[in-house]
C-alpha cells in the first residue's frame, strides 16, 4: 500500500480540493432579495417575478426574485440556464398552451399567431415564397394550423394571399375568430425607400385576412390601413401598438389601430426628416370589419400608454405622483372606469415603469433609486389588490447599496 502513496494522495487531493470548492460555492450566502407585501393580499404576487442583475466585486450576476426568494444565475448549471431561457415560460398563456398541447405547440414560435377558445386552438404564421429576388420583394402565404379541442384532430394548410402583390415583409399581429372564419390581422411592408439622409422610409399596410377553415383558404382580404401621402409631403402611417397585453391567445373582439400623420420636412442641410403633426386611435371591430375612432384622446400622446384588455382599452398616465388609469369599453366607446392610485415613489414617469395586463388586472413595477415598488390593480373596480416592495438582507447601508444596484429588466407572471 505504501508504494501507492502518490496515486492515493493525488486522488485524495483532487477530491478534497474540487469537492471543497463546489460545496463552498453551493452553500455560500448571497444577498437574499424578496418581494415584501406592504399592503393587500400577498397571494396576488405569488406568480410574479422580477428578473434583473446585481453586481458583486464588479462581476455582474443575473437574478430572479420570486415568491420563493432569489435565484442566482451563477448557481445555475448550463443545462438549467438553457431550459430557463425560453420566452414562453415567461408568459402564462403560452406556458399553459405548451403544457396542455405539447405536440401541437411544437416549433410554433410566432407568439402573436395564437388563438384559443373552448372549441379550437389556431396558429397562423406568414411564409414567404423563399425565392431569391432582386428587388427584395416576395409573395407571401399564411400557414395555418388548427387543433379541434374536442376531437383532438389537427388540421394544417397553407393559404395563398389573394391577388399578386409582392411585399418586403409580412407578419401576423393578431388572430381572432369571426362568424365567417378565422381573422388574421397582418402587417405588410412595402420595399423601404431611402431618404436623402440615409434613413429608411417604410410604408406598411394593415390587412385583416379571413381564413375559411373548411375550404382551407383566404376568403377575404380587407385593408384597414395603408400608409399614404408620401408624395404630398404629409404621410399617414398605420400601426398596431404593443401595449403590455400578455393574453396572446385569448379571444378579443377588437384590435387597436393608431394612425399618425407625419410631415416630411427638410433640415438646414436638405436632409429629409419626419415630424409628427397629428394622431388618432381607432378600434377595429372583427365582427363588422369597421374602424371606429376612439373618443379618448389622440393616439400617441407622450407619457400615455394604451393597452387592449379583452374588449376594453386601458389608458395609463402619471398625474403628479399618482397613476391615472382609465378604462374605455370599446363596444360603447365610453369610459367605464377612471381612477387614480397614489404612488409611494415620487417624481416617476410612466416610461420608468414596467407593466402588463393579465386577467383584468394591471401588474406594475416601478423603480427609483433604492426603492422598487410592485402594484397589482384590479381593472374591474380600480382597487389596489397588492402593493409590495423589493427588500434584501444586510445592514441598512448594505440594503441601500444592494437595492440601488439592483437593475430589473424583466417583470413577468409565471403560472
Amino acid at each position: 500500500m505504501k508504494k501507492y502513496w502518490l496515486s492515493i494522495g493525488l486522488s485524495v487531493f483532487i477530491a478534497a480540493s474540487i469537492g471543497t470548492y463546489y460545496i463552498g460555492a453551493a452553500t455560500r450566502e448571497l444577498p437574499e432579495y424578496r418581494m415584501q407585501t406592504v399592503e393587500g393580499d400577498g397571494k396576488e404576487a405569488s406568480h410574479l417575478f422580477l428578473e434583473g442583475s446585481v453586481s458583486r466585486d464588479k462581476m455582474i450576476d443575473q437574478i430572479k426574485i420570486g415568491d420563493g426568494g432569489t435565484a442566482y444565475e451563477s448557481r445555475m448549471s448550463t443545462i438549467g440556464k438553457m431550459f430557463d431561457s425560453e420566452y414562453a415560460d415567461r408568459n402564462p398563456e403560452l406556458a399553459g398552451l405548451i403544457k396542455d398541447h405539447k405536440g401541437f405547440m411544437r416549433g410554433k414560435k410566432s407568439y402573436n399567431g395564437f388563438y384559443k377558445d373552448e372549441r379550437q386552438l389556431v396558429y397562423a404564421v406568414t411564409k414567404s415564397d423563399g425565392k431569391t429576388s432582386d428587388d427584395g420583394l416576395h409573395r407571401y402565404s399564411l400557414a395555418v394550423s388548427a387543433l379541434d379541442l374536442k376531437s383532438g384532430k389537427e388540421k394544417q394548410f397553407k393559404a395563398a394571399m389573394l391577388g399578386k402583390q409582392r411585399y418586403a415583409s409580412m407578419y401576423v399581429i393578431d388572430v381572432q375568430s369571426g362568424e365567417d372564419g378565422i381573422k388574421v390581422l397582418v402587417q405588410l411592408d412595402k420595399k423601404p425607400e431611402v431618404y436623402k439622409n440615409g434613413n429608411y422610409r417604410f410604408e406598411s399596410e394593415l390587412h385583416v385576412l379571413t381564413v375559411n377553415m373548411d375550404k382551407e383558404g383566404i376568403s377575404d382580404d380587407q385593408t384597414i390601413g395603408a400608409d399614404s401621402g408620401a408624395d404630398s409631403g404629409k404621410m399617414e402611417r398605420y400601426s398596431v401598438p404593443y401595449g403590455g397585453g400578455i393574453e396572446l391567445a385569448s379571444p378579443s373582439s377588437y384590435a387597436l389601430v393608431y394612425k399618425t400623420v407625419v410631415k416630411i420636412a427638410k433640415d438646414q442641410d436638405g436632409n429629409e426628416m419626419e415630424q409628427q403633426v397629428g394622431s388618432e386611435i381607432f378600434a377595429y371591430d372583427y365582427a363588422n370589419g369597421k374602424l371606429t375612432p376612439i373618443l379618448a384622446g389622440s393616439g400617441s400622446d407622450s407619457g400615455v400608454y394604451r393597452s387592449l384588455a379583452g374588449n376594453a382599452m386601458i389608458t395609463m398616465a402619471m398625474k403628479g405622483n399618482a397613476l391615472s388609469i382609465g378604462k374605455l369599453e370599446l363596444a360603447k366607446n365610453k369610459e367605464s372606469l377612471q381612477f387614480e392610485i397614489p404612488m409611494s415613489l415620487k417624481n416617476i414617469t410612466i416610461d420608468n415603469t414596467q407593466f402588463f395586463i393579465y386577467q383584468s388586472k394591471l401588474y406594475m413595477y416601478v423603480h427609483a433609486g433604492a426603492d422598487h415598488e410592485i402594484l397589482v390593480v384590479s381593472l374591474t373596480d380600480g382597487k389596489v389588490l397588492y402593493q409590495g416592495k423589493a427588500t434584501v438582507d444586510g445592514t441598512a447601508d448594505e440594503q441601500k447599496e444592494r437595492l440601488t444596484g439592483l437593475n430589473v429588466y424583466g417583470f413577468y407572471f409565471a403560472s
Partner: protein
Amino acid sequence: MNRYLKLVHWEIMRFWKLLAALAIVTIVLQCVGIIYETQRYTSQVEDQVQMNNSTITAFVQQNGKLSFSEALERAGLSFFASIALCIGGLALYVFFIWYKEWFGKNMFIYRLLMIPTARRNIYFAKLTAILLFVLSLVALQLVLLPLENGLYLLVGGDVLFKSSSIVDLIAGNRILMFLIPPTFADFVIYYGFGAIVVLIAFTAVLLERSYKLRGVLAAILYLPAVAVFMMIPFLIPGNVTETYLYPAESFGIEIALGVIVTAFTVWLGLHLITKKVTV
C-alpha cells in the same frame, strides 16, 4: 480491477516528475505575476498621486481599491501563461502517453502488451491517468487561488488592494470559468466532454499505430466525422433544433449522440488495441 489500478499507478509514476514540474512552474509564475502586478500598480498610483499633488487616500476614495480579481485581469499573460503551459503540456501528453511506448531502442510496447492482463486495462489506465493529471492541475489552481489572494494582500497591503471572493473571481474570469465551471453539474459536463475528446484522440493514435499511413488518413477522417455526427440536429435543413424541438429534446439528442460517439470510440479503441496493434 487490481491490474487496472496498478497500471494507473504506473502511468502516474511515469509522469509525476513532469506533473510536479508543471505544478511548480504554475506556482512560481502565478506568484511572481501577482507580486509584479501589485508592485506595478503601486508604482503607477504613486506616480499619479505625485503628478496630481494628491494623496493615496484621495486616490482610493476616487477610484476604489484594486480587487484581486481585477489584479488578475490586469496581470493577463503573466498569470495565465502558466495555465496555457499546463493545457499545452497535457494536450501533447495525450498523444505522447501512447507514442512513448514505441520510442527508444527497446520499445516498451513489447513488454506492455505482454503483461498478463486484458489490453483494455492499458487503454483505460491511460485514460484515467490523463484525467487525473488534468484534474490535479485544476485542483492545484483551486488551492492556489486563495493562497494567492492572501499573498496579494501580504505584498500590496490593504490600503490600495482588497481581496476577492474566489467563487466570484472564477465566475468573472473567462479563462478560469472555462477551467472551473460555476456548478458541479457543469464540471461533470465539461470534463465529461473533455474525456470524450481524449478518447477520440486515443482512437486516432491507435488507428495510426494499427494501419500506419492509412491509419493517419482514417484518423484525419474520423475527427470531422465525429464532429459532423454530433452536429446532425443542427445540420438538418429547416433548423429543426430551433423550429421543431423543445430545448430538453435537443439536449437529450445531443446526450444520446455523445453516448453513441463515446461507445463507438471506446469500442473502436479497444478493438484496435486488442486485435490490430502489433509490434
